[in-house]
């Protein structure tokens, strides 16, 4: 297997950023994320449905979704709301889980909603170590450590 030599590449791979402009007012786009009656209409890839969608939409509240694939396969997704700033920012943890609710690898998702010429610019950021990055914002020691880890991963 080819080793990834660039530190930047490895670091970038640890987080995902997707931006999209929606032709709808910001309050509506925000609502689409925070109310089950909206969410069930769009959550998940094409062909998926959301037979279970429980949301305790408040700070520290949990959500749990059961997504059903086109083949009838069920996938559980769950997390906790960490930050709610209506209508501009939403932060929640995100983990696939088994039917018993045992979560797998957890990531942190940050969604920001910005006014954009009458439309809404949505930016989704999903990261593995987001909470650490926040605690150690721009701390050089942390950056150096990540660089070293990245270099190590490139060699491994």
């Amino acid at each position: 297997m080819a080793a990834r030599s660039s530190v930047a590449t490895v670091t970038t791979e640890r987080e995902l950023v997707i931006m999209r402009i929606f032709d709808a007012p910001r309050p509506l786009v925000f609502k689409a994320w925070t109310e089950p009656e909206h969410l069930v209409h769009w959550w998940g890839p094409k062909g998926f449905t959301l037979p279970t969608c429980t949301m305790d939409f408040r700070l520290g509240g949990a959500y749990r979704f059961r997504m059903r694939g086109p083949g009838g396969d069920d996938h559980w997704l769950q997390g906790v709301y960490r930050e709610i700033v209506e209508p501009e920012r939403l932060v929640f943890t995100y983990a696939w889980a088994d039917a018993e609710g045992k979560p797998g690898h957890e990531t942190l998702v940050t969604v920001t909603f910005a006014e954009y010429n009458g439309k809404t610019k949505l930016t989704l950021h999903q990261a593995v170590f987001e909470s650490v990055a926040v605690y150690n914002d721009h701390e050089s020691g942390w950056t150096a450590c990540l660089d070293r880890l990245a270099a190590y991963l490139a060699k491994a």
Partner: protein, 116 residues
Amino acid sequence: MAPDSLSITSAALADPTRRALLERLAQGEASVGELAGPFDMSLPAISQHLKVPETAGLMVRGCDAQWRPCQLTVGPRKDATDWLEHCRPFWEQSFDRLAEYLHRVQRKEKKHGRKK
């Protein structure tokens, strides 16, 4: 409830001493004694620190009773990276649906007057 894996990993990395220890391990395996070298700390204190990344699965220790070198693991971080790769299509396709849905909702709202 058991603490989630993100919290465990975060806790393991959210301390300057532990980050320095992991940084040293990124250069190759080392014994606790070797790791303790640059620190003004007792061996038990260093051992205590090492337990955190070990529990988080970021590091393993050898089985030899005398020589138990500490070594970084690749697993958890590699898994995380693979996992994120799978997320992009999930969101992209969801957003396609969200765009269509928002379009439908607004059309319906228009039809039913300027109802808020």
